[in-house]
């Protein structure tokens, strides 16, 4: 045995104890073997979304668990205020891409690990990119981004005769923190509760009543919101929209908020508070990030190896006073906008002849749909397109001509998703057009 192999054997000996022999807590279908470690190291491909507080921890944890093929996406650059907890970054890295610096740090520190960075937005990639991964882990601070990746993973599911093809499921492990609180969850798109199913769980953004801000401020935040919402659009001091990262902008808001707070005798305005309110900064505690990222990485390991049953499926964590955690099964929402429906296939015999009007008649008359006033939209070349909507006068007038166009003339292709809204259904239905080519003549 070569020296390299020997040191490799030793290096991963602890993982091998878990993966090469069964234990009392193993997954009931777990089959210990040396192939599992090989799978983790050579085939398994992970995507980490976010290279910030959670992302740095996730990359370190996953690399130390033996994963070698990891991609990381982050659209942000490094800021001085990140350095206290985003430990893959140094002072000299300020201004550089988080994804790129994090990847090169891990690749240098952990031999054999190959992290590939993407200094971009998640929305810049399409489903062909996301399909290459076995598991996706998120360390995000944005609900919009979570909903986007969730929608993407659900839309990539395949169904055969209404039955989910499990090969098309890409598990998503999602972590989130806020101060001393955090949560971690495992989402099996199409099988367990998705982000959209539990959207109500996210706390709403703090919004103060406008009249309080305008007339009866009591908190320093009220003064800052007044300057941001009312004074800025009125005075437009720099002739550009407010940018929370521009120090001149923040300084102006600070000065004006101070004036207002003196007028109403409200103490507590500080530059940091102004920055926090304007940018909606959520306090970050390094140890909370470490705990949540650790849990997420462990779940990734369990899913990838099947050595233990993954968490089912939502864990909350709070260590303000001692440590409190609770894990429960978030349930799928029956009428979830995103994951409750399998796309319904609608067979079309002759898309060159069939007019939109006939499609609408079909939706109204067919026993399966019996719709009243369906509104139809779709996405063509990445742009939303309203095909027809009878209920809104200004839209009806300008989409009426579509009624006499054939499906092909409207640019609808085989496999096209049509969004159909109607009073007869609690959510917008997705109907997939399937063009049935009549090949009798060709024989």
């Amino acid at each position: 045995m070569s020296e390299f192999q020997e040191s490799n054997q030793k290096r991963w000996s602890h993982l091998r104890k878990v993966l090469e022999r069964p234990g009392p807590f193993s997954h009931p279908e777990f089959e210990p073997s040396s192939e599992i470690l090989d799978f983790i190291m050579s085939s398994c491909k992970l995507l980490v979304i976010g290279a910030g507080g959670l992302g740095c921890e996730l990359l370190k944890d996953l690399a130390l668990l033996g994963f070698k093929n990891i991609h990381v996406i982050d659209m942000d650059t490094i800021d001085l205020s990140n350095l206290n907890r985003q430990f893959l970054f140094r002072h000299k890295d300020i201004g550089s891409s988080k994804a790129e610096i994090a990847a090169s740090f891990i690749n240098k520190k952990i031999p054999g690990c190959q992290v590939i960075p993407h200094f971009s937005k998640i929305q810049d990639f399409d489903e062909n990119f996301y399909r290459q991964f076995h598991i996706i882990v998120c360390g995000l601070d944005s609900i919009v981004a979570r909903r986007w990746i969730n929608g993407m993973l659900v839309s990539m599911l395949n169904y055969d005769d209404g039955v989910l093809d499990q090969q098309s499921v890409i598990p998503m492990v999602d972590g989130g923190t806020e101060g001393f609180k955090g949560n971690a969850r495992v989402i099996l798109p199409g099988m367990s509760a998705c982000v959209e199913c539990t959207l109500d769980l996210y706390p709403p953004q703090v919004n103060y009543p406008l009249c309080t801000i305008a007339n009866t401020p009591r908190l320093p935040e009220h003064c800052i919101e007044y300057v941001k919402l009312i004074l800025w659009p009125q005075e437009n001091p720099f002739n550009v929209p407010l940018d929370g990262d521009d120090t001149q902008h923040i300084a102006w808001i600070y000065e004006k908020s101070m004036e207002r707070s003196l007028q109403f005798n409200i103490p507590g305005i500080t530059y940091r508070l102004v920055q926090g309110v304007v940018k909606h900064i959520i306090p970050a505690v390094a140890s909370t990030n470490a705990v949540i990222a650790g849990i997420c990485a462990t779940e990734v390991f369990k899913i990838a190896t099947s050595c233990c049953v993954p968490m089912n499926n939502y864990m909350v964590f709070n260590d303000v006073d001692g440590i409190y955690t609770y894990t429960y099964e978030a349930e799928k929402k029956e009428d979830c906008l995103v994951c409750s429906q399998t796309p319904q296939i609608l067979e079309i015999k002759d898309p060159n002849k069939m007019k939109l009007r006939q499609l609408l008649e079909l939706l109204a008359e067919s026993a399966a749909y019996q719709m009243k006033t369906p509104g139809l939209t779709t996405v063509i070349d990445g742009r939303n397109k309203t095909l027809y909507m009878a209920t809104i006068k200004s839209i009806e007038e300008r989409t009426r001509d579509n009624l006499n166009k054939s499906l092909v003339e409207l640019g609808l292709r085989d496999g096209q998703d049509i969004l159909v809204a109607d009073v007869t259904s609690p959510t917008t239905l997705i109907i997939k057009l399937k063009y049935v080519i009549d090949d009798v003549e060709m024989k």
Partner: protein
């Protein structure tokens, strides 16, 4: 829980899409707004105007109240629905200058469901009814235009005259209002 390892098959980079006609998918916000718009049930005093029928996220609401202080006027509101709808409410501004205790000169509207009391179960329709209600029952308790609120509380006749003057176009309390008669 099932054992998910079908995952062991090797995945390849940039695998071409196995399904034909694959393309960008509609977002959750788009799915929801399509439903909201298709099922808008407007009171007869309200109409909508979509400048681009393909963009259901940007539109105008025109309210012509048929009773109350504002019955002679015509008021336009702009709606912008963001990508985080319905987690976040749409942004609504009043484009018509109006002498109203709950609407300021910049078009900001003080309606609880537009900010602090927004819930994802509410719809565009809820906001339409909320706005219409503001014209039927202006609320001097939580004012945005303090002067108008004071007049409404202390002298309803003067308030009514001021509203009419503003709708016909002219100065009220040193501020010029554009004409917005029906």
């Amino acid at each position: 829980m099932i054992k998910l390892f079908s995952l062991k098959q090797q995945k390849k980079d940039g695998e071409p899409s196995p399904r034909p006609g694959n393309q960008k998918k509609a977002s959750a916000a788009q799915l929801r707004i399509t439903k909201d718009i298709n099922e808008l049930n407007l009171p007869k005093t309200c109409t909508t105007e979509f400048p681009d029928p393909d963009d259901l996220l940007t539109f105008k609401l025109i309210i012509c109240p048929d009773e109350g202080f504002y019955r002679t006027g015509r008021f336009i509101f702009s709606f912008k629905v963001g990508p985080n709808y319905p987690h976040e409410p749409p942004k609504v501004k009043c484009e018509t200058q109006v002498y109203h205790p709950n609407i300021d000169q910049q078009g900001n509207v003080c309606l609880n469901i537009l900010r602090e009391d927004w819930k994802p179960v509410l719809t565009i329709n809820s906001i339409v009814y909320g706005l219409q209600y503001l014209f039927l029952e202006p609320n001097p308790e939580d004012p945005l235009n303090k002067e108008a609120a004071e007049v409404l509380t202390n002298n309803r006749r003067l308030f009514e005259q001021n509203v009419q003057k503003a709708i016909r176009g002219g100065y009220v309390g040193g501020i010029y209002f554009d004409r917005c008669l029906k």
